[in-house]
Assembly symmetry: C2
Homo-oligomer: 362 residues x 2
């Protein structure tokens, strides 16, 4: 088992990464203060892992909330179901919320924990690649609003993150590939050596070689932990984690949540951000090609489904990284180095959007 | 004008107390970073003060949300109306939320600000006595759930609190008296000298003598600021601010929100907590009489409307100050000294509830 620490003073917490951790309850129970535990999961994950987790909590007062699977359920209504369950169980402000599932479950359960009685402890048990490498670490929680993704949320750090790599074996192929988009992102924004490693090992990852997976997950978590420790509430450096997300969120919102996976939208969005970086003269064509080629090898889309340029601009105006009226982007100076939010001329932005809207022109 | 500082490190903020502050916009605008301001108020306050406030914000991009007046609107649905408005205005994470109203508006707007894009700055402009002395200071925000009061919320400190004492002139008598319950509370929990001052000056306060009001508001805020500075997230000492609130919340929930004012329920709840303290041998009968007599002079109820003992116990089991199954109370050692949460024998609790349920026996 690998252990990483996210260094956030009195909110510091460990990330445990390894095979079979779900069946070794001590990594969970050592972080519980009291006997009240509310497990939040979804209908896909529950039949696979819920009983195994509950078997580790004998003697605890355990409640469960099983939500439908999908980004379209990351809503205030779903959060309300969690609060209803906590109150139906008469759970106190010393209760714990445990998120068992992917990024949607983690964000939802984390938000519910952040607001229940003004904050109760929670634990992340991510079961998808995307959640293990990205969304379960860092304390961002949220629900979507019909006008924008993650518009209502809180910063709420977990007590610990337990990433059982065995759970990736049951992950649908499309979900697994979507997770690789965020893996590649870490190479791009601050770890050129890791990007090169990914170019070497993409086939091993795709056949889910356990050693390669564990290495990649740890490397991503280490990168994320460093960024989050330096800027917990995203006043600066942390924004680089949003590479590709301004485009990606617009694609998700423009198509309607649930149409495209978050990781797929991020892969396309990173290609668009890279294209914009190239137009600014920061990234060269060779690096651009390496990026697109790696996503292609991962089986990820690199051009968006048809979406008018005006629809993009409309959706982007609500992206959380905007300050007042300007649209700002995380861009790339080179592979392994992101540049913090930059205001971009509307002509360049339109050029990128038009090109991606027209044709798979890469 | 009087200025107090709530000392919370990088979350410190000032409380401005004085006549006519609503018409002196500089106390607000010095705390605004950008031009986006969403004012949240209610249908009672809007006709009185909304235009005066907006007149101070010429050149700003101002949105308004006017909610119905009343505790029964302190719900997630109302919070959603605020988020809808922020998104309809395309306000960014650099927008400000300004709460103009009483405790309900402050709690709601504060919660909406805490969660909008994971937290935007907010400003409290309390217009009731209760909000000026208590609810606008300290960063507690929340909405009610049908199963309990303030069950969903966040800690989110304001940028500043602007208490314009002129607004108290238009306050309905019943609302004003309800605010006095929290004023008396500060004397009881940690300021015996102030309690004695209140015994001297109750009639001056009731005729809303400006000097007496300003003194009382400052004294309450100073007490609250000290308590909050020592224990921002209520892990210990801050709980004393809840004197009378376990009983009070049960009365409010038991009767249905909106039937009784929060301050009225708190006055009764403090009498019940005092009775319980007396039964434990902490408070003597003379002190008990002084407390009840002061509430009576303030025109506040000291016995609850009929509510079965079992209904109390049912409502209390969900009070946020409970740790696991035990019901804990803030009690009084003497006037001017609260005792932190104590588990109380069920026999004593039933004795108090039965006595208050039966007759105005004080």
């Amino acid at each position: 088992m690998r252990t990483l620490e996210v260094a956030l003073g009195d909110r510091s917490y460990p990330i445990y990464i390894g095979a079979g951790l779900l069946r070794r309850g001590e990594w969970l129970t050592r972080h519980l203060d009291t006997g009240q535990v509310m497990i939040v999961t979804n209908a896909t994950i529950a039949p696979l892992y819920l009983e195994a987790l509950k078997a580790q909590l004998v003697g605890y007062q355990v409640g469960t909330v099983v939500l439908p699977d999908g980004e379209e359920y990351k809503t205030m209504d779903s959060a309300m179901l969690i609060w209803d369950a906590l109150l139906d169980h008469r759970f106190s402000r010393q209760a714990h919320v445990v998120a068992l599932g992917g990024g949607v479950i983690g964000d939802l359960a984390g938000f519910a924990a952040a607001c229940y009685q003004r904050g109760v402890p929670f634990v992340q048990i991510p079961t998808t690649l995307l959640a293990q490498v990205d969304s379960s670490v860092g304390g961002k929680t949220a629900v979507n609003h019909r006008r924008g993704k993650n518009m209502i949320g809180a910063f709420h750090q977990p007590r610990c993150v337990i990433a059982d790599t065995d759970t990736l074996a049951t992950l649908a192929d499309r979900e697994f590939r979507a997770g690789l988009a965020e893996v590649v992102k870490y190479g791009l924004i601050r770890d050129a050596e890791f990007f090169a490693w990914l170019e070497q090992r993409m086939e091993a990852l795709l056949r889910r070689d356990p050693e390669s997976l564990a290495f990649a997950i740890e490397r991503c978590c280490r990168n994320k932990a460093e960024v989050v420790a330096a800027d917990e509430r995203e006043s600066g450096e942390r924004a680089m984690l949003n590479l590709g997300h301004t485009f990606g969120h617009a694609i998700e919102a423009g198509l309607g949540y649930g149409t495209i996976l978050h990781g797929e939208a991020v892969a396309i969005g990173i290609c668009q951000a890279a294209d914009l970086s190239r137009r600014l003269g920061w990234l060269d064509q060779h690096e651009m090609n390496r990026i697109v080629s790696l996503f292609r090898r991962a089986g990820l889309p690199v051009v968006p489904p048809p979406l008018p340029t005006e629809r993009y601009l409309d959706c982007m105006a609500l992206d959380k990284k905007n300050t007042e009226e300007q649209i700002r982007f995380i861009l790339l100076e080179r592979i392994g180095r992101a540049r913090l939010p930059s205001a971009v001329g509307m002509d360049l932005l339109r050029a990128t959007l038009d090109e991606f809207g027209r044709t798979p022109a890469l």
